[in-house]
């Protein structure tokens, strides 16, 4: 058995409003924010066991983290941020709440998509007017991918007109060529990827650069309608396909399914 630790900020005695429950990373003595909520959702998803999470409460916390610009902050009231936006969107997806919360709210959905798209300079930035950083390719690129996938299903399910014409939304709204160029330019001579061009590499940025490059492989078959089947492979970098919300290879998520669900 396992359980997650709800932290809660105590009640409000000031002129300023306080946030409600969230998750913290250890049983006592930790900050609580969107990162740990995401970890909790990811773990529950992998274990195929949601008994430790109060999904309505978690969903409510996520909504309370919406910033005035449509993105998600780490905690309520804070600035919209690429990392917390991914954590929020991925958590909603894993909890099965994405369509209900975000996709159906068309105004919010599109303003969030636009926010994500606006993060692209050449590489991706994490917040307006900040510098590019390779890890945001995944945080933002991944969030976009999840949003647009969910939107595509939503549209397919709800469209019953247009003579059976499929209202598919283009699922690459980023300038993929530029982004790929930027990420690849952050590879270093000693191996790995750095946060920005010319900086030293580290594990986090190496992982998220590769993760996005893997994600970007799935985009290639869209615009170029393949009469020429070579197009797909030429642009692809040979990487395993990821489960976008979990950030782990698809073949691994299949193993979790096998191990943790009753025969």
């Amino acid at each position: 058995s396992f359980f997650f630790f709800f932290g809660s900020d105590s009640t409000n005695y000031s002129h300023f409003y306080k946030c409600t429950t969230s998750f913290q990373c250890i049983s006592v003595g930790s900050e609580h924010d969107m990162r740990f909520l995401y970890c909790a959702c990811a773990i529950s998803s992998m274990l195929h066991n949601w008994s430790a999470i109060n999904i309505p409460a978690a969903t409510s916390y996520i909504t309370s983290c919406k910033s005035y610009d449509g993105a998600f902050a780490l905690i309520p009231g804070q600035e919209g941020h690429g990392g917390s936006t991914f954590c929020a969107v991925a958590s909603l997806k894993l909890m099965g709440q994405l369509e209900h919360v975000l996709i159906r709210d068309r105004t919010w959905f599109w303003s969030l998509v636009r926010w994500c798209v606006a993060r692209q300079i050449k590489g991706m930035q994490g917040r307006p007017n900040k510098n590019e950083d390779t890890c945001y390719s995944y945080w933002i690129g991944g969030a976009l991918s999840l949003l647009l996938q969910a939107n595509a299903s939503f549209e397919n399910n709800s469209s019953n007109n247009n003579d059976g014409e499929q209202q598919s939304v283009s699922d690459h709204l980023l300038d993929l060529t530029s982004l790929k160029e930027y990420v690849l330019s952050c590879q270093t001579d000693m191996g790995g990827f750095s946060k920005t061009f010319g900086a030293a590499p580290d594990l986090l940025h190496s992982f998220y650069s590769l993760a996005w490059l893997s994600l970007s492989n799935s985009y290639n078959h869209n615009i170029h309608d393949d009469t020429d089947g070579d197009n797909d492979d030429r642009d692809n970098i040979s990487l395993r396909q990821l489960d976008c919300a979990l950030g782990i290879p698809l073949d691994r998520t299949a193993i979790f399914q096998k191990v943790f669900t009753a025969p």
Binding site: S14, Q78, H81, R127, N129, H172
Partner: protein, 398 residues
């Protein structure tokens, strides 16, 4: 007072250090330095023995200087402080709070983005801040002196944050901590003005500091960021403030987000229950006046060397406003700037493709359907945008 460095084996002469258990075949074993290994070996021993002593506290200082991100050590340190405290076991002695805030400040200097250090400040202050607030709420007798003392400590904390923000005005941790202080303490109402002044100074220094804009939203909403402002006049003031900033540099995204955020909030809450300040008519005129401002700005920009339609955020705001107005004429007007921008500004073409699709959605949502849109444009609007982006992909943008 300079403390003599007593070697750990002497300080802990009676303790058997516990080495790290990595198993027989460690994967990617870290080559720790000797001093790190020694310190952590003794730490594991005092942890296991649950020794919450002064020497254990000293040991945590050593371990944290070596690795300030070890949250287990931070938690153990707090337990030591509580145990050594002369007051109750759940609070920290005032001297401990003071010295540990200094300790955190020293460590925090070269680690301004370390979660554990920021949390430690909060963990130290939270018990006294909140206890005092409870007392106040219950009409406690001690009253004014203690209250002033708490407020003074809180102001010192805000001051510390000021210092961190001076080095990096966008430090997310610093802003989160600031919000925590403001939410926790019952400051006198003058705090609103002093915070507004502070954030205004930051915006003047760097109008592109999005964190400062977010804080301005926090302050004007008095920390209740999901509820609208109660006065139309206050909303107008904020919108005017942001528009003035946008006018100076329309390429700056931050003030535009701020303006659209306020307009969307007003629209959402206008005419709703419990909010009789925001009449739908007032909101409509707010939106219209913003539109006029933007049109004027586009005109001004047009007379400069800059290409108006390449000013993404200005055009984006215009489109947002037209969408907010939502009437047929406004929605039709949207397509013009979008298509024009698509043809002109390649790297942002996907942004506008995105916009065009959003209009497509808005129309669908607003009872326009695709058929109507198609008839209006004579073709599938979505594919027009798609085609243009594909077509421009073969263009050399230079």
């Amino acid at each position: 007072m300079v403390e003599e460095e007593v070697p750990l084996p002497i300080l802990f002469h009676d303790v058997t250090p516990i080495p790290q258990e990595d198993g027989p075949h460690p994967v990617c074993a870290i080559s720790y330095k000797e001093d790190f290994t020694e310190a952590m070996n003794y730490l594991r021993a005092v942890l296991r023995a649950n020794e919450l002593s002064a020497r254990a506290l000293k040991l945590t200082s050593i371990c944290l200087k070596l690795n300030p991100a070890n949250y287990t050590v931070w938690h153990f340190r707090r337990r030591c402080l509580q145990n050594l405290s002369s007051s109750s076991s759940t609070k920290f002695a005032p001297e401990s709070i003071q010295s540990d805030l200094e300790f955190s400040s020293k460590l925090g200097g070269s680690n301004p983005k370390n979660y554990q250090i920021w949390y430690h400040r909060r963990a130290l202050l939270e018990p006294t801040f909140e206890a005092e607030m409870i007392k106040q709420k219950e009409g406690g007798e001690k009253g004014k002196e203690d209250e002033d003392d708490i407020i003074q400590k809180a102001k010192e904390e805000l001051n510390y944050i000021n210092g961190v923000l001076e080095n990096d005005g966008k430090n997310y941790h610093a802003w989160s901590h600031r919000q925590w202080v403001l939410r926790t303490i019952c400051f006198p109402p003058s705090i609103y003005n002093s915070e507004l002044d502070y954030v205004h100074k930051l915006i003047l220094d760097d109008p592109r500091n999005n964190s400062a804009w977010n804080h301005r939203w926090f302050i004007t909403h008095k920390g209740c960021t999901r509820k609208p402002l109660s006065s139309l006049e206050d909303v107008q003031k904020e919108i005017t403030y942001a528009m003035q900033c946008a006018e100076v540099d329309p390429f700056n995204e931050s003030p535009w987000r701020y303006v659209i955020g306020f307009l969307e909030e007003c629209k959402k809450y206008s005419g709703s229950e419990g909010n009789d300040v925001m009449e739908a008519a007032d909101v409509k005129s707010l939106i219209n006046s913003c539109e006029q401002e933007i049109t004027k700005m586009r005109g001004n920009l047009g007379s400069t060397e800059y290409d108006v339609d390449s000013c993404v955020h200005l055009t984006s705001a215009k489109i947002d406003i037209l969408e907010m107005k939502g009437d047929d004429i406004s929605l039709e007007q949207v397509s013009v700037p979008i298509l024009k921008a698509v043809t002109i500004f390649f790297t942002k073409v996907n942004h506008f493709q995105c916009m065009s699709l959003s209009i497509h959605m808005a129309r669908t949502w607003g009872d326009w359907n695709v058929t109507k849109a198609n008839n209006f444009y004579g073709c599938n609007f979505e594919y027009v945008a798609l085609f243009l982006s594909f077509y421009l992909g073969t263009f050399d943008p230079s």
